[in-house]
């Protein structure tokens, strides 16, 4: 090729580093996007669930007759109707599909019904007569710990346990139970295939694990069940566990009809797991210069009635209990209790959120004790590439720019208070409680660290297929789009790898492709993205080598200036590559909690600015600025979206979001009383991305979904402390914690 020829477009449109429009944007904006809630099928029945009104009770008897007597009721099923494994669970199958002899949490499913319409189904569910004998419910995790009623204990000992520092701070901290509260509640449709099998379309973050559990409990062969990715309204961890999936398939096979179920909001609050409430106690010791010498932590999380992911959440809480700081001597003791509270499991940040509130509160206290600037103290102890993790001893061999995060955060200009603030943006907002002279401003910082991908030796992989079509390529995957934009980023990765623009993403069911793993742990961009990159790269190499070409673009295969093969020609043959991508292997912990536990890490920092009405205890989060380690931003607009959305969930945990429990009962399972931040509660956000390639993710990308939630809560708590002078050892911070304590 000579230099004066016009070069063909070798950089495709919509590749990595750009922010192409979401392919699902138009249908979502027009109201045409099909969510699981919107599915229907010919002859479809509607299902409803009967739930225990007791935190713990023996089920004495269940009388289905009154429900079956209602016209239009087709099936009422109980535990006795589960043909296969009676229980399910992500890590340990300990949760009954339907409670048998005993119900162990408030809201536990006891029976399911199918009827001609949703109204009849709910009436039938209400008509089923269940006799309960209430039993003593264990709802205190401390008591559960004492009785050794626990899902997991984990102890970490690293370094010389006798080491002591001259400056010591101690503190105890509590984190309330947060809910993911995705806007789309649980929903699904199961369609019997007429040959004893079933197709399931339901809200999920991980269709292959749903498939596995449905197959087990229905007693079917794997090929008889197909779990299909379907449109979902957010997830944030709430859709990792099975809830209505097995119920729907049971009812569909029992009735021979398609069966649909949609949870109402209050049912959703009991129908999925929550973020674990946590109780933390810390002792930090430093030398006079501020060098962190020893951290001792006790971590308790309450897993509730069934295992879900409690062991993994506990592990994360313990492994990240020190935060992104070097420390020679570490002792962590963790316990995940089993109680009769609602089961807790995955939520964005997965254990790292809870401990971050503890260790960052401690770092601020240590700074005060040392008379140091809180960021200087953090910088002095910042964990970086090449350092061992303070807890597990794992040497960090991917970029960990903690120092850069701190320095960039420090350098971000702090905005002056606005001359006038509209009352709706003062604490108390439209309630007109507060005028500017009632407000004290506070600024606070926090840093957070978390793993990316699954840990502790789990075989973590994702499969993806790239296939040529008549004018480009399609990426086939079972990885779930939860709103984060994976449907965009996988196409971008394939475009950049192939050198072509026409790439789409197709979600296919469990019979057509291997597992992509869960859309969780900030992992899909790295895992499914990694599989996509490798499949696309192989496909390009194969097509070039077969046709002896040197370039592929939107027209076809080229050699120099000659177009050898067009896309139309290529479509005569089946061109596809399927790749299963694995991240670097990890190990489980040894007896001291040591090991190569994690595949990759990400760090982020937040600076919160809050206005506090100290007399009434009302907080308005004015702005949250952040610096985040992203490896490489494959789609800057999506990264910004994850950051802003994640921060607002952190705002929620800091000042308003909590499931209030009493004797195992959730007192506020509605949107009237479980308060999500509104647009008038949202802070302004400025985000700075640190791009340091070197991670194993595609093009050096790191997952970005969880970092924004991890330290934003702690930063807001710190800022509120600065404004109010109160200790605030608990989140969410309640007005009385500021005004009365």
């Amino acid at each position: 090729m000579t230099t004066d020829t016009v070069p063909r477009i070798r950089v495709p449109e919509g590749g990595v580093g750009e922010s192409p429009l979401r392919p699902d944007g138009v249908p979502k904006l027009r109201g045409e996007f099909e969510y699981a809630q919107d599915l229907s099928a010919e002859g479809m029945l509607w299902a409803a669930t009967v739930r225990s009104p007791h935190a713990r009770a023996r089920i004495v008897s269940i009388d289905l007759a009154p429900a079956l007597a209602i016209g239009g009721v087709h099936a009422c099923l109980t535990a006795a109707d589960v043909p296969g494994r009676a229980t399910f669970g992500l890590e340990h199958p300990d949760q009954p599909v339907l409670a048998g002899d005993e119900a162990r949490f408030w809201g536990e499913p006891v029976a399911v019904v199918a009827a001609e319409d949703p109204d009849t189904a709910r009436q039938a569910a209400a008509a089923i007569e269940v006799r309960y004998e209430p039993l003593d419910a264990l709802t205190d995790p401390v008591e559960a710990d004492r009785r050794d009623d626990v899902f997991r204990r984990l102890s970490i000992r690293r370094g010389d346990q006798a080491l002591r520092g001259s400056v010591v701070v101690e503190g105890t901290y509590e984190v309330g139970m947060q809910d993911q509260a995705p806007l789309g509640t649980e929903a699904g449709l199961a369609i019997p295939d007429g040959q004893g099998g079933v197709d399931l379309y339901a809200t999920s973050q991980y269709v292959h694990i749903d498939h596995e559990q449905v197959v087990a409990s229905l007693g079917l062969r794997p090929e008889q069940v197909r779990a299909h990715p379907s449109g979902i309204g957010g997830a944030f961890g709430s859709r990792e566990d099975v809830n209505l999936h097995i119920h729907l398939c049971l009812l569909a096979l029992h009735t021979g009809r398609p069966v649909k179920m949609v949870y109402h909001r209050s049912e959703s609050f009991t129908g999925h797991v929550h973020r674990h409430p946590a109780w933390l106690s810390y002792r930090h010791e430093a030398d006079e210069t501020g060098r962190l010498v020893r951290v001792q932590a006790r971590v308790m999380i309450d897993g509730g009635a069934y295992a879900s992911t409690t062991s993994a959440v506990l592990a994360n809480a313990c492994y990240f209990a020190v935060g992104p700081y070097r420390c020679e001597s570490v002792s962590v003791d963790g316990v995940g209790s089993r109680t009769n509270n609602p089961p807790c499991g995955a939520m964005r940040g997965f254990g790292a959120v809870q401990v971050c509130f503890g260790y960052e509160s401690q770092m601020d206290r240590l700074a005060v004790a040392l008379g140091m600037d809180p960021l200087d103290l953090r910088e002095m102890n910042a964990l970086g590439t090449g350092d061992p993790m303070p807890t597990t001893g794992q040497v960090i061999d991917t970029p960990l720019p903690t120092i850069d995060v701190i320095r960039s955060l420090q350098a971000m200009p702090l905005p002056e208070p606005a001359a006038t603030v509209h009352h709706s943006e003062l604490p108390g907002g439209s309630g007109l409680t507060t005028e500017s002279h009632h407000v004290r401003r506070g600024v606070g910082y926090a840093l957070g660290i978390k793993n990316l991908g699954f840990s502790e030796g789990s075989d973590d992989y994702a499969q993806a297929r790239v296939r040529f079509t008549s004018d480009g390529a399609v990426v086939e995957t079972a990885a779930i789009e939860v709103g984060q934009g994976m449907v965009t980023v996988l196409a971008q990765i394939a475009r950049s790898a192939l050198g072509i623009s026409h790439v789409s993403v197709a979600h296919v069911d469990t019979s057509k492709i291997g597992s992509a793993g869960s859309t969780s742990a900030s992992r899909q961009t790295q895992l499914s993205g990694g599989a996509t990159l490798e499949a696309a790269t192989r496909l390009r190499q194969r097509v070039l080598s077969q046709h002896d070409g040197d370039e592929l673009d939107d027209e076809g295969v080229w050699k120099g200036d000659d177009l050898l093969v067009t896309w139309a020609d290529l479509s005569d043959e089946d061109w596809e590559e399927t790749v299963t991508f694995r991240h670097p292997p990890t190990t489980g912990p040894d007896e001291n909690g040591q090991g190569v536990i994690h595949a990759d890490f990400a760090v982020a920092g937040h600076r919160a600015v809050v206005d506090v009405d100290t007399e009434l205890g009302l907080v308005k989060v004015v702005r949250v600025d952040t610096v985040q380690d992203v490896g490489r931003a494959l789609n800057p607009q999506s990264v910004q979206g994850q950051i802003e959305g994640g921060i607002l969930q952190g705002v929620g945990l800091a000042v308003m979001e909590e499931l209030v429990m009493k004797d195992g009962v959730i007192l506020n399972p509605t949107f009237t009383d479980y308060l999500l931040p509104t647009i008038l509660d949202a802070p302004d956000v400025e985000a700075l991305l640190i791009e340091q390639e070197g991670s194993w993710g595609p093009f050096g990308a790191k997952g970005v979904g969880e970092s924004p939630t991890i330290s934003s809560t702690a930063a807001i708590a710190a800022a509120t402390r600065a404004a109010s002078g109160k200790e605030l050892n608990r989140v969410p911070i309640r007005p009385q914690d500021i005004a009365l304590e």
Partner: protein, 154 residues
């Protein structure tokens, strides 16, 4: 009982057997699933529609009480093809993630711009204070609607 109403400009008849909501009628009987149910108590705005010219939550309108009324849903505010300027700005601005709140926000924003073509940032926020979004943190939504308000290129 049979009721008649106008939905997105078209006359519609519907059979009502229970005191259920207009939202359920739209979604389950009239083939208009664009309006979403996320809370069934008027606390999220996902089911926002325009009823006789007023922005309301369709989950709190008794279907039977919508007799002889005019209803406009997200399907009705969308052009025949493609997107209107508000939708387009949201699309380009990254204001859509999971999208479950999106139809309600589109309808609320259309109502706002109908009444006030040049809303301030505060007015945008106050107009959308009844629409909960769990994904975006609202930043992209505010920025997108500001571009519509100022007539800026999106």
């Amino acid at each position: 009982m049979i009721i008649e109403l106008t939905v997105n400009g078209e006359p519609v008849t519907a059979r009502i057997t229970n005191p259920g909501s207009l939202l359920d009628l739209l979604r389950d009987e009239l083939g208009l699933p664009g309006s979403k149910n996320a809370c069934e108590q008027g606390e999220c705005g996902s089911c926002s529609i325009i009823l006789d010219g007023e922005l309301v939550c369709s989950c709190l309108v008794m279907a039977a009480d919508a007799a002889d009324s005019s209803v406009v849903t997200v399907e009705g505010v969308s052009p025949v093809d493609g997107l209107d300027p508000i939708q387009e700005a949201m699309h380009r601005g990254g204001a859509v993630q999971c999208g479950f709140c999106t139809p309600g926000i589109v309808v609320a924003a259309v109502d706002l711009f109908t009444r006030n073509p040049r809303p301030s940032r505060t007015q945008i926020k106050e107009a959308l204070a009844g629409n909960i979004c769990r994904c975006t943190g609202y930043g992209a939504i505010i920025r997108a609607l500001e571009t519509v308000a100022t007539g800026a290129e999106t």
